[in-house]
Amino acid sequence: MEASKVIHAIYTDDDVLMSAVKKVKAAKHHIEEIYTPFPVHGLDKAMGLAPTRIAIASFIYGCIGLTVSIVMMNYIMIEDWPQNIGGKPSFSYIENMPAFVPIMFELTVFFAAHLMVITFYLRSRMWPFKKAENPDPRTTDDHFLMEIPVHGNIKDLEALLAETGAVEINIVDKEEAH
């Protein structure tokens, strides 16, 4: 485990934070992470984060759900125990398909929604019994925290952050846990 120094700059307003992020980025500093009590619209773009790929994942999960429902209903209602659906005993999948559409829809949504949430949690490194990475409990209430790794001149960076409206600037040793 390697220890490195990071600066924690704390803000009390999301608009101030947004303009601070833009100034810090303009001064060519790397922002490691920002902790906020609620989602701040446009923050990902301002930080220069790569666009999320969760939509693609969601589409794939939806396709999986659709496939599962088709295969499942074919097995349950047509193959394993052929059912007389709506008084039309054709025992053909395609002819009974309209009856399965609600199930296709539900399972598509079910798979897309649940797997997307699970993916999001895993991708955000959140799972049960995990110790919170959150460096300051106030960020769950009304404070915003910007974490910047320190390379080179600390004084300049501190001055820049103070100028952007940070209410508190701390230099802490961070243990690399991952």
Binding site: A55, F59, G86, P98, A99, V101, P102
Partner: protein, 454 residues
């Protein structure tokens, strides 16, 4: 400020002339005699190699048309049956130009009405993103008054060529064509009640449109702190939406569902609403993109287009949901008098029936799903054109099976009727656009709308 260019004027007038010519030609060509139909049927039979097929489809058409036929006696000779079939086909051929004209007229009226509902919702919800688009919506709804009156005129002139219940024999117990079910409904389905209701709908919609446009223009010239016109617009929009959702539903029974007077569906009004809503929003998007490409609507940004495309996407799904809800219940229950509606469509209208599902649901669903594509103008235009064609086919599928049965085609009468009303629609809408500045600068939400950012 947009000025109506000569090129557009000439283009739309030419479309109307061509459409009128084409339609009159097909109208005069449709007056076939019974003997001609018999020769035609004999030829078809020899081509298709069997009479069975024709008789099959006839039997189906009969089911939906049991109204017009007194076809219960099983003792008819084959010859008499053939004669009756030929007469039936002759009527279907006669009906086609009327129906083609009616479908196209209704389709363009529906665009204007859908845009009016969308406009009303923007005012009633005090939406902040959309005021930059208000003048486009107001221009589209300008077509509503002439468009709706034309639909009514065609309905009354078309008479039992379109609405079989308008035939007085159907409610006359002495007549061979007497139909007890239609006679039972004659309290609602009679010509004078139909006309009075239609005039009430049209008067209500157009009165709202007239005052809303008036207040919208007055708000432009009002003092910066004077929002009285906006407030009036808010109030009448809320009232209009209540009026609209009832009258739209009744309109859809009267103007569409009654072409099959034996059949009914309780969510038909919603279904037609989804169709007109998505068509109206699509046309708003297309006209906005056109004006923006001319550099006349620079204040419309990507986010506005994104929101319109989201509506196109969402309402296409909503349409599919209602289509399926209606289809599945009827398919599942399989009650003869209900299911005949879909049997006719699947047997005789396979391509338009399933093609419409692809165009109205699957295509926009896949094309407009990606968030980024909703901001690319040519993507919206492509999806929009397919959606509009799809909803034309939707109206086609609602009217034609009842009037022309399996004698349908998308040919000269249909295309020229579309050209005729497309020309009229373009001419009136762009004329209305040229009447007022494209930015409703007095709207209290205009700043928010101009800076709208998603």
């Amino acid at each position: 400020m947009y000025t109506l260019s000569n090129r557009l004027k000439i283009f739309s007038v030419a479309l109307m002339l061509l459409g009128a010519l084409g339609w009159f030609y097909s109208y005069s060509a449709s007056h076939v005699s019974l003997d001609e139909v018999k020769t035609m049927l004999a030829e078809e039979a020899s081509h298709s190699g069997g009479h069975g097929e024709v008789a099959d489809t006839h039997a189906l058409a009969e089911e939906s048309h049991a109204a017009t036929d007194s076809h219960e006696s099983g003792g008819l000779t084959a010859e008499a049956h053939d004669d009756e079939h030929a007469e039936h086909v002759m009527h279907q051929i006669h009906n086609r130009p009327y129906s083609a004209l009616y479908v196209a007229a209704f389709f363009f009226m529906m665009i204007a009405l859908g845009a009016l509902a969308f406009y009303g919702i923007q005012y009633a919800s005090q939406a902040g993103w959309s005021p930059v688009l208000f003048r486009v919506m107001e221009a589209i709804t300008y077509y509503l008054l002439p468009g709706a009156l034309i639909v009514l005129a065609i309905a009354l002139w078309g008479d039992d060529h379109i609405f079989v219940w308008m035939n007085p024999d159907m409610v006359n117990p002495e007549s061979a064509d007497y139909d007890a079910l239609v006679a039972n409904k004659s309290g609602w389905l009679n010509k004078s009640a139909f006309t009075i209701r239609a005039l009430i709908y049209i008067a209500g919609w157009c009165a709202y449109r007239y005052f809303s446009r008036k207040f919208s223009l007055a708000q432009d010239n009002a003092d910066i702190n004077d929002n009285r016109n906006f407030k009036k617009n808010f109030r009448i929009s809320a009232a209009f939406l209540v009026f609209y959702i009832y009258t739209e539903s009744m309109m859809s029974w009267d103007w569409i569902m009654s072409v099959d007077p034996h059949w009914f569906s309780t969510l038909f009004g919603w279904y037609v609403f989804a169709s007109m809503f998505v068509s109206g929003i699509t046309v708003i998007a297309l006209i906005t993109i056109y004006l923006k490409s001319k550099g006349l609507m620079e204040f419309v940004n990507d986010s506005h287009m994104h929101d319109l495309a989201k509506f196109m996407f969402a309402i296409s799904i909503f349409w599919a949901y209602l289509w399926f809800s209606q289809f599945m219940l009827i398919w599942y229950a399989n009650i003869p008098e209900e299911v005949t509606y879909f049997v006719t469509r699947i047997e005789d209208y396979k391509l338009p029936f399933f093609g419409m599902l692809v165009m109205n649901f699957i295509f926009p669903f896949l094309v407009l799903m990606n968030s980024d594509y909703k901001r690319i103008p040519w993507f919206i235009v492509m999806a929009g054109i397919v959606i509009l064609i799809g909803h034309y086919v939707d109206v086609f599928n609602m009217i034609m099976p009842a009037t022309v049965g399996d004698r349908w085609s998308i040919g000269l009468p249909e295309l020229s009727a579309v050209a005729l009303f497309l020309g009229l629609f373009l001419l009136l809408v762009f004329y209305a656009l040229s009447k007022a500045p494209l930015l409703p600068k007095g709207n209290p939400f205009i700043k928010e709308s101009e800076h709208f950012h998603y």
